[in-house]
Every structure is written in C-alpha cells, then in structure tokens.
C-alpha cells in the first residue's frame, strides 16, 4: 500500500465495508483526494477467494478456524474474538460482537440479502409510539436506493407489497426443490413468500459478469458477480488515482483543532505498532456502528470533553441488533430426493417479508423469514446429529443408507426481526480495559424486552406450524419463556445499529439528517451507527444508500465552499 504522505487529504474515511467503500467510490469519482483506513489487511476476491475449492482440497474439510468462525473458506477474516482486541460485557449481559478485519470488512461475510427499508420504517414512533422517527423519509432516500441498485446490482421481483419497496431488479433465480414446497405451504397458510432480493447480479452489470451459480458467495466471488466492497467499490475508486488505501491501520481517534473541528485521524500502523496520523479536511467514520462509537468516545478534547459528536451524550446509546431465532425439521416428503445440482446462488432463492398486522398481535414490529435446506456441498459438519432421524442412530450399511436417503430432507427457517431501542442496551468505554495498543475498549450492556421475546415466540410458533404443514417433524422442543423462546444473543445476528444516531434535534441525537455531527460540521458517519431504528429488513442496502447520500452532500457542500 502506498505510504501516507504528510499532506492534507480532502477526506479521510475510516473503515472499508459497505459504508466506507461507497463513500470512497463516490467521493473519488467526484474528484476528491481520499485516504481510506482499514484495520485489517488486504483482500482481493479475484486472487484470494477459495471459490470452487472442494472440501477434500483441505485436510480441515471446511471446518472453522479461530479467525474464520464460519468456516476456513469463508472470505471474512475476523470473528467474535480477536486476539489483542478485547471487549467487555457488563455483568449479566449476553452480547457477541462480530468484527471483520480485512479490506471490505463485513461485506465479505454477509448473506447479501438486500432489502430497502419501507416508508413505515422511517416513522415508527408516529405509527406505534415506540422508539423515534427518523429525520428523513423513504421518499428522500428512494433515489439513493435506486442508484445503489444501478451501481451494485440486485435480483428480485416486483411485488408492489406495502412497506417492502421494489427495486430495479435483475431476474431472480427459480426456486430450489425444497423452496417450491415451502412456497406452496406458505401460500396455503397465508404467509407471503416471494423471490429473495440479493445483491447478486444475474445479468452483466458495469463490467461484471453475471452469477455462475456455484453457491459459494460467502467465499468471495472471483468474477465479482456479487457485492463486496473491495471489488465493486474500492478497486474502481483506486483506479481514479485519487484514493490512498492504508490497511492494518487501527484508528485511535479523530483529531480536532482548537476550534473543535476535525483535522484528521490518528492511527496505529499494526505492522510496526507505530502511532501515525493523517490530516484531512473532512472525516467520515464507517468503522461499523460500535467501532465508530468507540472512536468518537475516545476522541476527547477540551472542546469535546465527552468525546466527539457526543454533546448530547447519546453516542453508544440506542444500540440495537436484529432479533433472531431458528427452527429446523425433518420433512419425510423430501426423503430420497434425486441428486441434482441445487446450489444456485449463495443464499436463499425465496424469503418471506413481514406479512401481518401488528394491530392483531401482542407485539410491535415484524420479522422476515429466511429459508434453508437443500443439497449443499458436503463438508465438515455434514448431517451432524443423524441419530435424530427416524432410525434413531445406528451404524453400518443401514447408517450409510440413512445418509443417502435423508440428505436434503431437512428444512429450516430463520426469523430476523425488529428490536425496539431501549435504554438498557448500549455500549460505553470500559473504564479500565484497553486493547493491545492502549486504546480503551467497549463495554456492552444488553437487555431484550417483552416486545422482542413475544416477537420471537411468534417466530417459533410460525416456523413450527410451517414444518407441521409440510408434514415434517421439528427437531427441537418449543423453547420456554425461561429460555427466551430461543432468541439469539444480542449482536449474534451481526446487525448492530444505532449507537451514533441521527435525529431532528441536537439534544437527543449525535448526527443531523445528513449524518453530519451536530457539534463538528466536518465529521460524518456513514455506517449503521446513524440508524434511528432497525426494521424487519437487513441493513446493508440502507447503509449503502445513506453513504451515497452523505457523499453527495459532502460533494455539494465542498463545491459550494461551505465545508
């Protein structure tokens, strides 16, 4: 990577995931000289991906490693615990924090489910009185969603459903065998079930080849047929000649001048452990919601005694994650499915957007359903727990026959729902613990409320009903209230949002409607930190649209001489 020069950049961006990659792309395209800092190392899917490797190409057969918890070939380097970079939890708190440490961050990891938030998702308080409204509307963000669709690409189907806005879609791939069964079952039960919406291109787009359906999106795509930040945004940005990329750069804080404005960022070069600085006219944080909050809280000065963008004291507060629970079952009808290539894209070809009316339910907000099953590549973990199938275990020729018959006869459902922000779920600086570079670390506090438990209970009941309707048997008993109805830990769904939230008033938000710090006009946040609320939808497409909008605002302000 090029060495940092001692000069002044137009913009310093911290983090190279969806938000940072998009800002780098847009701002360099607009003519700005940009420095992009990433805490992890270099990654290029066209060279580094394990796409098309077979399990027997490794003695580990795809099992996880310490820095690849989702399997050795998962593109994303990082995980729930990173050596030398701890985080702490308040007593009683269950929270898991996933961090990507590589170029592109978590865009190397995600399931590529790319859902626009709907009109209602920006004004939930006006609808049910809970949480807060966003300072922007769907109509304001819609042109940016459209631009993201055009630039990055997405498949899906036009459905005209309320609060699930359609995009500019490539054709969606046809369902797999078990997805046909789920679709029919859902139709019978009145559950809306439509083609998935994933950022995988099924037609050529902007110099990228269409998907070749190897089913291994999570390994990184050598042909760039799906979205990850490096190959779709950052490398094109580098080709402008205006992007300086600094990898292994762990940001300590945003530096400010006597007037309180940002002057750049200080960071540790992880390869040499040296403290360094880059100076810039504008700073954009896109390090992930919690990491950006950590940087802001660590950026203390006389003018910003509580940390930067934190005059209101809300940085770290209103942290949310998606609610989640899973149920799987054995579907006798799918026994002995004839072997065929059921890989498709790396993710579901169908999903169920939220379909019910909360007025008739005992919980607010909704969830969407992801469906899994099929004839996936046999790898480490293959058909674990076969003793749960009808024969109840065994060995020998009979066992071998079981593996053949039952492979592909399991279907699972994952619910992904909207949590209401609450004051007991937040992060702050740990007063004592520091990471290996001496930077204070985050301490998490977490509490699910009845609103979430009731929602997850509904997921469990729905998935059990679906499996029953398919003639199947659920593997696990219904979890009890004491077991939280099977709700995943906070953080476990890897959709942390909202601890640097935007708002209409500087009294109760860190950022204004342009994702610009209220108390520092040349500081912006372009990751999930700015979100006011979750939705029953994955956040990445909204992060991308917001980052594009932030970049446009910065460009216009600079041209007007205001920044």
């Amino acid at each position: 990577m090029s060495q940092p020069r001692n000069d002044l950049y137009d913009v310093a961006i911290v983090g190279s995931g969806a938000g940072g990659g998009m800002a780098a792309y847009q701002l360099t395209k607009a003519g700005a000289r940009v420095v992009l800092l990433e805490a992890g190392g270099m990654w290029d899917n066209t060279k580094d991906s394990a796409m098309l490797k077979m399990p027997y190409d490794s003695p580990r057969r795809g099992a996880s490693t310490s820095d690849r918890p989702f399997g050795e070939w998962d593109a994303c380097i990082g995980g729930w615990s990173i050596p030398g970079e701890p985080y702490t939890k308040a007593e009683g708190t269950k929270f898991d924090w996933w961090r990507g440490r590589m170029l592109g961050g978590r865009t190397n990891h995600w399931g590529r489910i790319s859902l626009r938030f709907g009109p209602d998702d920006f004004k939930r308080k006006s609808i049910d009185g809970l949480g807060d409204d966003w300072p922007i509307s769907y109509d304001e963000l819609k042109p940016w969603y459209d631009e993201v669709d055009r630039l990055i690409g997405i498949f899906g189907s036009v459905e005209n459903l309320p609060n699930h806005p359609d995009g500019l879609f490539h054709p969606a791939p046809a369902p797999r065998y078990y997805e046909h069964l789920v679709k029919r079952t859902s139709d019978r039960m009145g559950i809306t079930c439509i083609p998935a919406r994933l950022s995988v291109i099924t037609k050529p787009l902007n110099g990228r080849a269409p998907c070749h359906y190897c089913g291994q999106c999570n390994r990184g795509c050598m042909t760039n047929s799906n979205f990850s930040s490096p190959n779709v945004l950052i490398f094109p940005a580098m080709r402008t000649g205006r992007l300086t990329l600094l990898t292994d750069a762990m940001v300590r804080e945003v530096m400010t001048g006597p007037d309180g404005r940002a002057t750049g960022v200080s960071y540790i070069d992880k390869r040499t452990a040296e403290d360094r600085e880059v100076r810039a006219r504008i700073v954009v944080l896109a390090a992930s919601a919690c990491e950006s909050a950590r940087i802001l809280l660590n950026s203390k000065s006389t003018r910003h005694p509580n940390g930067l963008a934190n005059a209101s004291g809300v940085v770290g507060k209103y942290l949310t994650d998606t609610t989640g629970t899973d149920v799987a079952g054995f579907i006798p009808r799918l026994v002995d499915v004839p072997p065929h290539n059921a890989d498709g894209v790396g993710g579901g070809h169908i999903y169920m957007p939220w379909w019910l009316d909360n007025a008739k339910l005992d919980f607010p907000r909704g969830y969407h359903i992801e469906v899994w099953g099929g004839l996936g590549m046999p790898s480490y973990g293959f058909m674990g727990g076969i003793q749960s199938y009808p024969e109840g275990g065994g060995y020998g020729a009979d066992l071998k026959a079981q593996y053949r018959r039952y492979w592909g006869a399991t279907v699972g459902f994952s619910g992904r729902g909207e949590m209401i922000p609450n004051e007991k779920s937040y992060c702050e600086l740990d007063p004592e613990v520091k990471d290996k570079w001496g930077i204070p670390v985050l301490r998490f506090h977490w509490e699910w409320r009845d609103t979430e438990y009731k929602q997850v209970k509904h997921m469990q009941e729905t998935f059990r009903a679906l499996i029953g309707e398919m003639g199947g048997e659920v593997w696990s008993p219904m979890p009890t209230r004491e077991q939280g109805y099977g709700i995943a830990n906070g953080g476990a769904i890897i959709h942390e949002l909202g601890c640097v939230r935007m708002g209409a008033s500087e009294r109760d938000s860190a950022l204004n409607a342009q994702c610009q710090a209220w108390d520092c006009d040349n500081l912006f946040v372009a990751d999930g930190g700015s979100f006011v609320s979750q939705a029953d939808k994955n956040p990445t497409w909204t992060i991308l649209a917001l980052s594009m909008r932030v970049s446009d605002y910065i460009t216009r302000q600079r041209r007007a001489g205001a920044l």
């Binding site: 795809g62 046809a174 069964l181 089913g215 058909m383 065994g394 066992l399």
Partner: protein, 206 residues
C-alpha cells in the same frame, strides 16, 4: 442445468466484459477446480487429502492402540458396500488425526471415548475391543448406537458414539469417495440456472 467441461468453464469465467481486471491465473485456477471436480480420475492435486496411500500413515495424535481401535470403529460405522468404499478407504482416520491436532476439545472426547470402549470391552469380555469377537463387538455397538433405547449405564459410550458418528460422516462425505457416493454435483459454474429439474419435481409430487 448445463454442466460444463473445463474449457466451457474457463470460457464462462472469461466472459467478463473488457475493462475489468481479473487475474488470468485466478481463472485458470477456478477452471482447474471445475475440471478436477468433474474428473475424479484426474491427476491428484497437491494438498489433496487422499493420495494413493502407498505407505502406511503414521498417526500424530493417536497412540498405536487407539489407531487400531479408531480404524476399526469408523469402518463399523461406514463399511464398504456396492456403491462406495469404507471410511478407512476414504481416509477418515487420517482426517481425524489431523483434526485432533487442531481442535483440543475433539482430542478430549476422542481420547476419553476410545478409553471407554476399551474399558467396556474389558469389563464385559475380559479383552480389548480390537481382539474381541465380531459378536462381542456388535454387542457393545448395539448397546451405544441407538441413543433413545440405550441403557443409562452406557451414557458415556452413547455420547462418544454420537460424536464419532458425526466426525466419521464429516470425513467420509467430504472425501472424493463420499461426494461421489451422494452424487453431489454442485460447486461448479453453470451457464444458466434453470431451477429444479422436472423429474425432481415429479418425484417429489411438486
């Protein structure tokens, strides 16, 4: 759906519009993988877990006694039959030896479990599992292979056998032999996704 030979795969991968940089060696590598997947008789690649087994493997984690026992057990689990080879044919013990070196928790249950098998056989028959008769071995296996009907006093054996069964399946079905047995034909580029074949839909009554 269309399956491709190596040349077709390469051509599909090369069907990238001009102007975007994709390392040619990456395409070659991808196409080689496709080729290897399509042609199990093809040249054995470097790093492949199943060489032609010319000389005896020396385990790094298992003792000689454990090695004899684990090789016997995995073949009781996955024996050779008309369609495919056995767990030892597929290199499952070697796979386990590698995994035990990498994952400490696996080392613990494996070692304890093999010890349990040995002790159970001594207790019942006064001899090791390996030197017990076929009928004696099956008596123990039948006692621990079906968790729901197993007696309470062999619970440790049941848990071990569940773990061993899972790990054996992981090693066997991720091998070339196991993948061919199942008929897995994915993880390769296809030019056009046509959805579920009509004969599969018919078979499933969909």
């Amino acid at each position: 759906m269309s399956e491709m030979n190596r040349r077709d795969a390469l051509q599909h991968l090369l069907a990238v519009p001009a102007g975007i940089a994709i390392a040619p060696d990456a395409l070659e590598r991808a196409a080689d993988h496709v080729h290897a997947a399509l042609d199990p008789q093809g040249a054995t690649q470097a790093g492949t877990a199943q060489p032609a087994r010319p000389r005896p493997y020396v385990p790094k984690q298992f003792t000689p006694d454990e090695w004899r026992l684990v090789r016997m057990l995995v073949d009781y689990l996955i024996p050779r039959d008309a369609r495919s080879g056995s767990a030892t044919d597929a290199g499952v013990p070697e796979f386990m030896d590698f995994m035990l070196g990498e994952y400490a928790s696996m080392r613990t249950w494996m070692r304890n479990g093999l010890g349990w098998m040995h002790a159970e056989s001594r207790k019942r028959f006064g001899t090791s599992f390996v030197s017990a008769s076929e009928a004696q071995r099956r008596e123990i296996l039948d006692a621990i292979a079906f968790p729901k009907r197993a007696a309470a006093d062999v619970k440790a054996g049941v848990e071990f056998f569940n773990n061993l069964r899972n790990l054996t399946a992981s090693g066997f079905y991720s091998s070339r032999i196991g993948i061919a047995d199942l008929g897995y034909i994915g993880n390769r580029p296809v030019a056009e996704w046509k959805g579920t074949p009509p004969e599969v839909m018919r078979k499933l009554g969909l």
